[in-house]
Amino acid sequence: MDLTNGRNIASSAPARVPGAWWKYACGALMCYVIYGAFFIADGAAGFGKGGDNARAVFFHVPSAVLSSLCYFIGVVYAGMYLFSSRYNNLETDAKSSIAMELGLLFCTLATITGSIFAGIQWGVFWNWDPRETSIVIMLLLYASYVVLRLALAGRPEVRARLSAVYALVAVVPAQFLIWAVPRLLAGMHPTDTLQTSSGLSLHYKLVLYPAFLAFLLVFVWLFQLRLRAIKLVSRREAVS
């Protein structure tokens, strides 16, 4: 559909944003989640200070879950880049790299919200609890990936290969961090405060589930933005 009515290139009319509907929906949904975190969900039993700090959970848990998901996606694209001849191109590498960068972002968010939660709940902002330690190490892993890519900035092919290998090799510590370490080491992390014997309270579900969806939509949007930007830059470079 030609929005410019045949006008020439340097038109100043705004172009249509692809998928605007779900992006606006995401914006509205997140507003609802923020509102709901403070006004809809009751404080949870078992949390201190009248359960107010449990509201940080609505942002902390989706961030943490999403950061693991990002790593998984990054690793899948890395594996595809290395082992599949069909996907052995720089676009797959770009997707892997974007996923890891967003993983870094969400991991940072999870660390910060977790720290806020700990500060309100136990009065101390950092405890070196196993899960807290795990998430910091996860941050380091993402950061190392970014450092490796920076060190190889001028050599795209080698960068793609080496960072894919690093992502795959780092799966071992990442999986141990996510699954084994919290179970091996007893910690203060509340594991079942969200689940009472009768299941999650309805009010909690009303805010938590949309929160997951909202964060997921944010991830998809940011992923798409980064990918488009990278594609445009590489097009410009290919042309010039």
Partner: protein
């Protein structure tokens, strides 16, 4: 990409790996680059630790929760424990070993780049064999360092080893993980032509996780009454980490190694 003329079959692969390992050993014994940097570092670090912890070693502490309400000096004395406990000493030992390994192994793939023998290596050997040979050499280096540093450390700090068999399993499993991480990270860093800083930056997160599990297993060692199941879980976790890491490294190594 220049393909090697050698087709790797099982027997040829292993003997290639052994050949590379022996070549590295001979080169190392001749030039003593890794051994000297590691040896110097380890010696200096042990000396520093001995000096720095002189007072800490003698310090005693008491757990107030265990004391009755009204205490006498004798009761306090009876309850005093060393401030620097065995898990803490074990932790510091592994910090020492990790940095020693870094000093020695960071350049395990850089030598070839400098000596210009990489091409010859690439032509004559399958990547898997190169990885196996380098891994064995690095493991040997780590084990040698541990074998020398650990008794010295025990003497200096008075670390209690607990049950000897489990202690040995712990140390060997630790060296295995250390060598495995160092090998693949050295390959990546060498290919990236990064400085030594890149090796550290890449290897550290991988090692921290390993160290966490190592220290957890060490706690088991000193725990006193520990079920065999718990020991198996802890040591099994350590060894499975190393094994998995080696497996992934072996599969992806040729992507690092090829031009």
């Amino acid at each position: 990409m220049i393909r090697g003329a050698v087709q790797p079959d099982a027997a040829g692969w292993a003997s290639q790996a052994r050949a590379l390992f022996l070549k590295d050993v001979r080169a190392e014994l001749r030039t003593r680059v890794a051994l000297s940097s590691v040896g110097l570092f380890t010696f200096a670090a042990l000396l520093l630790i001995a000096l720095a912890t002189r007072v800490l070693k003698e310090t005693l502490t008491v757990d107030l929760a265990r004391l009755p309400e009204a205490v006498t000096s004798e009761q306090i004395r009876a309850h005093m424990l060393p401030a620097w406990d065995d898990p803490g000493k074990m932790g510091l030992l592994w910090v020492l070993l990790i940095f020693s390994a870094f000093a020695g192994l960071a350049h395990s793939f850089v030598h070839e780049e400098e000596a210009g023998t990489t091409l010859a290596l690439r032509l004559s050997m399958a990547p898997g064999a190169v990885y196996a040979g380098k891994l064995c050499f690095n493991l040997a280096v780590v084990l040698c360092v541990a074998a020398i540093a650990t008794p010295a450390y025990v003497l200096i700090t008075g670390l209690h080893t607990g049950p000897i068999a489990e202690f040995l399993v712990l140390m060997i499993a630790g060296c295995l993980g250390l060598g495995a991480v160092a090998t693949i990270v050295a390959a990546l860093a060498a290919k990236a032509r990064g400085t030594g800083g890149l090796f550290g930056a890449l290897g550290l997160p991988l090692l921290i996780v390993f160290e966490l599990m190592l220290l957890n297993a060490a706690n088991t060692l000193y725990g006193g009454d520990v079920t065999p199941l718990q020991s198996i879980k802890d040591f099994g976790g350590l060894i499975s980490y190393s094994v998995l890491l080696i497996a992934v490294s072996a599969v992806t190594f040729h992507f690092v190694w090829e031009e």
